[in-house]
Subunit: 513 residues, 3 copies
């Protein structure tokens, strides 16, 4: 008990947001470590090595176009856009945290993808003969996928943590992800093309648990900065739309060549379309006058893509995709209206971007849909070879039945949940240490802490000039008063009020100037 | 006559913009209908079905890369970006209608693509044996194309209609499109790879006719909201550029594998480049001091892509593409300068985005260019097989001559025009009913009607704080006044200073005004 | 001496920014010239011509998918996005030059790509038999590459030149580029897949030399417009991210089919990731409190892509890419902190976007890395066929050794430097003539010179309304004053008016709140 108490006390020391030592140190040390580890472990695979031409002859491959690059590179680029522009801009909705949203997203992703190549390589593709990890375009997609789970987690703590904390969160997040992915995909042999379980469920619960551990009872002091402004909402729509449009590429990026990728793209396309309509419907219903809320349009419209992730490569059927999208649009929007405020008030989990509604719930639904679809698979629908191909019933899994596969899918979902919640709690504890430079409660959601801000637009606009000239008026008033012929009492009261108002205003302006 | 009169009276009842019942109802009912119809009709095609592996063996297809997915998916994603980001952001130029532009664009497209898959399926790919529609990546592109025509129509009525009206407009628009497309492409056997006729001409005249039917004589009351602000123009350029860059993918997305797609991309690329120069030239010429107008840069630069749509897959020759782009840049920019104001004043057609200049005229030009290019085709230029391939002279059209094909192209253009104008008038009548929740004349182009807006940026800025403190000054003045004595001298000095300050400020403001 | 003096005097005549004659004239004349030259010289190549089907049979090509279009089109589209959105938005960071940044970028690129197709065609692919240039998707990529070098040069003079000057700069820039590229790639037989030397080094020094020639000693008068505002920095991040994400496509777009493209993408991906971390580290270190500077995030994070350009298709090894990215992030950020101010102060080179740090230095580093990597190549690492393929040791270069190749690479770098600096000085001289309509020193970085600007946002906001009503108050005060003594009556009237005005204003504000 005393131990916990002293841990608490230690965590509650006054905050110092200066990251001038810690941030560069973390960046340099970790980047150098990456270079060393890449030097030891990482090499090109057969399709990206200059020996490809020999490999091609040896394996009787007729054309360069059969290089995996041409199957997956367009999807990779779409996924890449989702990671950097999609997630980055989706989080710009806060009125004064756009730099932090895009910039730290960039930092996390830049570091995370390197570490993910290593972690995923060790678990999935370490060659036992030469001890090397061979990378190609599929590794790059998988690294981006892994990073996605950390960016989802960032959504829960957006504006409340320092870049150093984010780096630590990413280091552990990628590590946990690689282990969890190995257990789910390799040991349990669950299928998860679009990562409903592996990416979204894990990432969201990881972020929510961290946010729970880092709960700030006095966050009210920054409440006025949580809203959006008109243009920040438009910026956020850039993120939303790029995520929405490229989600079919996300879910199909690493599924089987041929029909697998084709089907995953169609299913995701349809599911997302249905989600748009039901999100908008619920959003309109939730307001007295039927007005729409941008928060729902920005987020809930994406829930269908999350929820169809696992089953995207299965024979979910077009109407099945629509049903999944239909339900998720409703659930996700209702989540924003009812569950997020509930979680904040009663569970002490503050979820800045509402990832519980966009990733956690739809991710779990996606896992369940995947389990049901897998369990219901039959040779009639898939064809004999199609069934084997789709569920990879080869090698030691040769005799597996679809019903069993359904069970394995469900088991995979549980693993993702456990890793997300468990890992988040542990990492959250670490992040509570008062050494990471996070912002005090009254400076959250403010770029001013970690960014050199440009002078405010307003400082150059007529407004400010107007303020300045009113200040000189105040001075001339003072001289009026000095001239003696205005009732002393009235003038003094005016002067005092003016001055106190100006000083308030000035302090508002100064930090930005 | 009495009937028309009473219809008018009925239409002119006071407006109620509450869509809390109608919008969710339309979204839910239509989405459920989609699910049911998809359940009955829509299945995966051979290339996206799990039986692909058997199909491949059976048809002796050597590699997965020959799946149509790999021919078309990158183009599909580009088209998808054009639909959602391109059209969405192009319409954000209004100072206070960015939410409506992007949000309703999203809604229309999300619904429209589902309905398009059904409508186009019924007309083009209903299997007579099993009564199913088989979809694949080409169906998705075609659905996006169909949606494009409705989004073009939205451009004419932007800011003046309710989301419910837009849904109705889309329902009928997609239906008309599918019929018109079937007549033009299948019955008349016209070719229209990039949809100059089928998409642009139809969509633009459909929208203009609706706008004509919904003419608001008192729209002046909202005139001050029709302009742009600095940042909204920059947002609109996001739309412009994504449309411009991806137009080669649009025009080549469904043309023939191999040289067809290749040639369509080159032609569009060149045509658009030429359009940029002539639009900018005319824009500069049209102003006394040679300044450029953002409206022209945002819109007229795209006209070359529209006009080269039909002929993109023909042997238009690179210089031919440049000529088309050259002319369209001039015509489209002149349209913005002269025709749009003319149409509003004399024809009572208010065209918010100027779709007449960007889609209608270039679309018609594109149809004519296509007819001429087709009529001029010869075996010398195309080669025997090339000619058959390009114009699809197979089956019952085996003996068709290029000159005949030219006539068919012209006929196709007429069909597109008739469907656009006729359909638009009928749908416009329906939309005049006062049940759709559209805005009153003095609240057009204002997001405030259908969106929960964030607090204004200004509300948190020094300005507002300043306003607040001036209010308190007024109070202190009151107390001054109550104290009864203010000397003439002090007041006069205040007056002079105030005036001189105001004049400074005014000169600051004027140059931008 | 007298000659130079009179040239100077001639150049220092007062500025006239009216481009109403010159800009349209340049656009029209040059575009018509393009059409004529395209008519004479440019035709489709075998893969985009309707004879493709015969060519396919003749060359025993099994499938349409082997058309180069499918190897390169997705990369082409990514490059296209970099040119128009990437470069365009990267330059929007200035508070009042976003229109000029995006719009003139658009103009330069639209003209430049046509001229590049011709110039590059004459040098690289003029068929001696029929005197025609045959174009395909690779030509389009090369044209975009060529344009990139001119856009880089634009970065140095952003805000200080007129659109006519930019057109002249592009005309000469493309011409010089084509010659330089021919010397480096064909005569010297250097390899430069991503254009570190050919594109970046040349383009950057070309721009810097021009900026040096156009040095404005009195630019201080526009200093207050050089900064950014909050939202303009966010817009610039759109440019940064699209450049960053699609750089792997840039570097792999024209490298060898198969492993060449695959490897180039991986190397660039990794190099860029490392750059992000070191740029952020140095940026944080450079500020007293560890705050990050948006200028560094927007620019320095891209340096790794530039520096890995030449060596991207070589066997640089993943850790090699990381090392290159690591170093360039540091060097580029330090450049922004120390070198840019130094160059402006002592060398009289004003570099608006800091292209010296983003393109010049990393480009030179990229050339050196390429030379070293080439010199170190061995049959052990590449395999015999791989080595021949990668370095194109065929035909007259059959017996070349890797060490020799290293020397050729270094020679290529020198050629790029000479052409950049020499060409820039000559073109800069031409651009100093006072006939191009550039802005006077006190109006640089201001869109108002060449663009019709929308009314300021503030003009329609409560602020301005407030100002207006204060003006009317001043008037009512005047009447008070005229009445001679501030009687109780006057004060009361003022009070009432003020209050009623406030209530009006408040109702204006409330609906948004």
């Amino acid at each position: 008990m005393g131990c916990i108490q002293s841990f608490r006390q230690c965590c509650d020391r006054p905050k110092n947001t200066n990251v001038r030592i810690s941030l560069p140190a973390v960046c340099f040390v970790w980047q150098i470590a990456m270079i060393i580890l890449f030097g030891i472990f990482i090499r090109y695979n057969e399709e990206s090595d200059a020996h490809w031409i020999e490999h091609k002859t040896y394996n009787n491959i007729s054309s360069n176009i059969e290089n995996d690059f041409y199957f997956r590179y367009p999807s990779f680029q779409d996924v890449h856009v989702m990671i950097f522009v999609g997630f980055g801009f989706l989080m710009t909705f806060l009125k004064r945290y756009s730099f932090g949203a895009i910039g730290f997203n960039f930092l996390i992703a830049g570091f995370g993808l390197q570490w993910a190549l290593l972690m995923q390589g060790w678990f999935h593709s370490l060659n036992p003969l030469d001890g090397k990890i061979k990378i190609g375009v599929e590794s790059m997609i998988n690294a981006d996928f892994c990073v996605a789970s950390c960016l989802i987690a960032y959504g829960a703590v957006l504006g409340k943590v320092s870049p150093v904390q984010l780096m630590v969160m990413t280091l552990f997040g990628v590590t946990l992800y690689a282990v969890e992915e190995y257990i789910i995909l390799s040991l349990i042999h669950a299928r998860d093309a679009g990562g409903s379980m592996v990416i979204h469920t894990f990432g969201a619960y990881y972020g929510l648990s961290i946010s729970w551990m880092l709960y700030r009872p006095n966050l009210d002091q920054s409440k006025h900065r949580i809203g959006s402004v008109y243009h920040s909402d438009v910026f956020a729509m850039i993120g939303t739309l790029f995520l929405w449009m490229f989600w079919p590429s996300f879910n199909s990026a690493i599924s089987d060549h041929g029909d697998g990728q084709h089907r995953a793209a169609i299913n995701t396309y349809l599911s997302l379309a249905a989600t748009v309509l039901t999100s908008i419907a619920i959003s309109s219903l939730s307001q007295k006058t039927g007005k729409l809320d941008m928060v729902h349009i920005q987020n809930a419209t994406l829930a269908g893509g999350v929820a169809v992730g696992t089953a995207a490569e299965f024979m979910l059927m077009p109407y099945g995709s629509l049903i999944v999208g239909f339900c998720c649009g409703i659930i996700s929007t209702l989540g924003y209206i009812y569950i997020t405020p509930f979680m904040e008030k009663y569970l002490k989990i503050h979820d800045t971007c509402g990832i519980h509604n966009l990733h956690a719930m739809p991710g779990v639904i996606g896992g369940i849909v995947g389990a049901i679809t897998a369990a219901a698979a039959s040779k009639g629908v898939y064809g004999k070879e199609g069934l084997e191909n789709t569920f990879d019933f080869t090698g030691k899994w040769k005799d597996m039945l679809p019903t069993q596969q359904g069970g394995h899918q469900a088991a995979g979902l549980c693993v993702a949940l456990c890793f997300g919640i468990g890992g988040g709690i542990i990492v959250g504890c670490i992040l509570r240490l008062p050494i990471w430079g996070d912002a005090p409660d009254n400076s959250c959601f403010d770029d001013d802490i970690y960014w050199e801000l440009p002078e405010d637009e307003e400082n150059n606009s007529p407004t400010v000039e107007y303020n300045n000239h009113m200040r000189s008026n105040a001075v001339s008033w003072q001289s009026c008063a000095d001239s003696g012929q205005l009732s002393f009492e009235g003038i003094r009261r005016f002067k005092e009020e003016t001055e106190s108002n100006f000083s308030v205003e000035q302090s508002e302006l100064t930090p930005r100037a």
